[in-house]
């Protein structure tokens, strides 16, 4: 008799809680890890913190978990200020990047561990552990040890263990970073599915922007201890608030352009601006490759959008076409079928879709162009 995870899993007694981080600051000696982080997680929401190493995303998570103390700021969970509460009393479930499981305990014992600490009876613990293992699809491995199961399975057990204690908040510290690419994408969707099913407020830390965009309700892009932009994935991607966000998330072309009258002219195309308040003048425009289309030119075409293909990179469903426009290189990303018409050396004409673009008069960006 097979039962689905949804049948056997009983809904938690509590619904998702709100988590608020106010003005968190943390430094290690001279190094500033967090420089005033404000973040609110709505009940049941999954927020991904995204950024390069050293940006402070893991520190934020660890402060929330209570594994480290903030120098300044407050942490409020479900309306209660827990800033001074030790980690063991915060009632949060955490999944680590690696070495999550206790090697001397079986999978089931690992999952039941938190319940054992809470003096839950053996019968109840075992039952709940099995429930959790079914939720993550690993009830068959209950009596194995960590060393006997794969990395992906270990992380699923870690998730089961974190959820077994019915925590208020779920914390995931780059849980997929140590896994193979294929396992990573499968497990990422699993995690999201389970998180939605349980309805728990979740903070997910990652450096992989694809991960963040795929599963989060909102993404917070961090740099140098601050959140640069916080919003739904589509917004982060198509309306980046700064050039850092634009360049960290997805690929970008940097093209010189001229702003006038609320629009920017890039290589002869008029493109709307994300931020209308930009002053007139020369800028660098950040154009997404998928906004650029390529068509084989008849030959003898000239103009700002005429050029020669340098290379075509096959990526599976899409292909990236790199085009030399006489002094500037542009990347276009097209469905592979469309890119089939061109190869290296083909003369082509480009078109830029009028998506709103981010521009920057930043000399640092300008100098790299």
């Amino acid at each position: 008799m097979t039962t689905s995870a949804a049948d056997t899993y009983s809904a938690p007694a509590r619904a998702g809680v709100e988590v608020r981080l106010d003005g968190l600051r943390r430094r290690y000696g001279q190094v500033v890890a967090l420089d005033g982080v404000d973040l609110t997680l709505h009940p049941g929401e999954l927020v991904a913190l995204l950024g390069p190493s050293g940006c402070g995303k893991t520190t934020t998570l660890r402060l929330l978990a209570g594994l480290e103390d903030a120098d300044d700021g407050q942490i409020i969970v479900g309306g209660a200020d827990i800033s001074r509460l030790p980690a063991s009393k915060r009632d949060m479930g955490m999944v680590f990047q690696a070495y999550s499981l206790f090697p001397h305990l079986t999978v089931a014992q690992n999952v039941a561990f938190g319940l054992r600490l809470r003096k839950v009876s053996k019968q109840d613990r075992d039952r709940r552990a099995l429930e959790m293992l079914e939720l993550v699809g690993l009830s068959a491995q209950a009596d194995r040890y960590a060393s006997q199961i794969s990395g992906g399975q270990q992380q699923r057990v870690a998730l089961a263990r974190a959820l077994a204690i019915e925590p208020k908040v779920l914390l995931l510290d780059e849980p997929l970073s140590a896994l193979d690419a294929k396992v990573r994408s499968q497990l990422r969707d699993e995690i999201r599915r389970i998180q939605l099913e349980v309805g728990i407020t979740t903070l997910f830390v990652t450096h992989d922007q694809e991960e963040a965009l795929a599963i989060a309700d909102r993404v917070g892009v961090m740099q140098d201890g601050r959140i640069e932009q916080l919003g739904p994935p589509t917004e982060i991607y198509s309306r980046p608030a700064s050039s850092f966000v634009a360049e960290f998330v997805g690929l970008t072309n940097r093209l010189p352009g001229q702003v006038s009258g609320g629009q920017v002219v890039v290589r002869g195309c008029q493109l709307p601006l994300v931020d209308h308040s930009v002053a007139d003048g020369p800028v660098i425009a950040l154009v997404r490759p998928e906004a650029v289309t390529v068509s084989a030119a008849g030959g003898g075409e000239s103009g700002p959008l005429a050029g020669t293909v340098i290379a075509v990179t096959f990526l599976g469903a899409t292909s990236r076409v790199t085009v030399d426009l006489g002094g500037t290189t542009i990347m276009a990303q097209l469905p592979t079928a469309d890119a089939a018409q061109v190869t290296a050396g083909t003369p082509v004409t480009l078109a830029i879709r009028p998506d709103p673009v981010l521009v920057s008069a930043d000399p640092a960006v300008a100098s790299e162009a």
Partner: protein, 282 residues
């Protein structure tokens, strides 16, 4: 003119165990514990050394100070010759250990890998056969050797055996750190024969490990007492023992002990310097 940027960082940042990543309170308690432990153990380990130093400087009247015991290292009857012969013994042992182990280990690694488990077992076997046991069976063998040569240097043969486990581990660590197969294949494809591969490709890359093995073997030879004493050879340790039987707490015992310790410390410093240099080069 770069117009593209890449996706976010691909290498995951391993979280370093920063000293700050613990609660301040718990860190404080831990540090208190640590300092207490270091003070207590430090005293325990230091006091015998202190006693040795004091006795090495003790004069004929209690409470007086003199360097006589240190001068006696050179003048005490039989001591200097014992020191000399022990140093020679250590040098010979080192060379023998290297000559015996290094080519064999490289050869096994290159050509006879299936033997390596057996080889490891043999090298570690001396750990389970204490010197005092080994010497019981060495009697007849050394009786035979003494027909030909009475010098204490003959101890080198058995000292090599005693040094095997330590030298083996040192050299094995060094071998593991370099990709022996690839290096040797590259050299062979360029025309080198096996001898060249061993002497000019592999061995030069094991400098640190070889130095380690040499120092361990030397330390063993300098400190060995059991076999030398039982077979009636006079090495440094045996000479010291005899002196102590004749004159309990003779000053020269302590000055020599301290000198040996300083020498060992000096060798360790050299070793750590060479380690740092090789790390910079690498």
């Amino acid at each position: 003119m770069a117009a593209v940027t890449s996706l976010g960082e691909s290498a995951p940042a391993a979280r370093p165990a920063t000293p700050g990543s613990m609660h301040a309170g718990r860190r404080r308690k831990l540090n208190l514990f640590r300092y207490v432990v270091f003070v207590i153990f430090g005293l325990f380990f230091f006091l015998p050394l202190l006693a040795t130093a004091r006795y090495s400087l003790e004069g004929t009247k209690a409470g007086s100070w003199t360097m006589k015991a240190w001068a006696q290292i050179a003048t005490y009857p039989g001591l200097l010759s014992a020191i000399e012969i022990t140093l020679e013994l250590a040098a010979i042992t080192c060379v023998l250990v290297l000559v015996l182990l290094l080519p064999t280990m490289i050869w096994i690694r290159l050509r006879v890998q299936w033997i390596s488990r057996v080889f490891e077992f043999l090298c570690l076997l001396p750990l389970t056969i204490p010197a005092i046991v080994l010497v019981v069976g060495l009697g007849p063998i050394y009786n035979w050797i003494e027909h030909y040569n009475l010098s204490a240097l003959q101890l080198c043969w058995v000292y090599v055996i005693l040094a095997l486990p330590y030298a083996y581990r040192a050299l094995a660590t060094g071998l593991e750190a370099i990709d022996v197969t690839t290096l040797s294949e590259a050299a062979r494809s360029l025309g080198a024969n096996w001898l060249t591969v061993m002497t000019r490709v592999i061995a030069p890359n094991m400098g640190q490990a070889i130095l380690n093995a040499l120092l361990l073997s030397a330390a063993l030879a300098l400190g060995e007492f059991t076999i030398a004493e039982t077979l009636n050879y006079t090495t440094l340790q045996v000479a010291l023992f005899n002196i102590s039987r004749a004159t309990t707490n003779a000053g020269v015992l302590f000055s020599t002990s301290l000198a040996a310790l300083l020498f060992a410390f000096f060798l360790l410093v050299i070793l750590s310097y060479s380690r740092r240099r090789s790390r910079r080069r690498g």
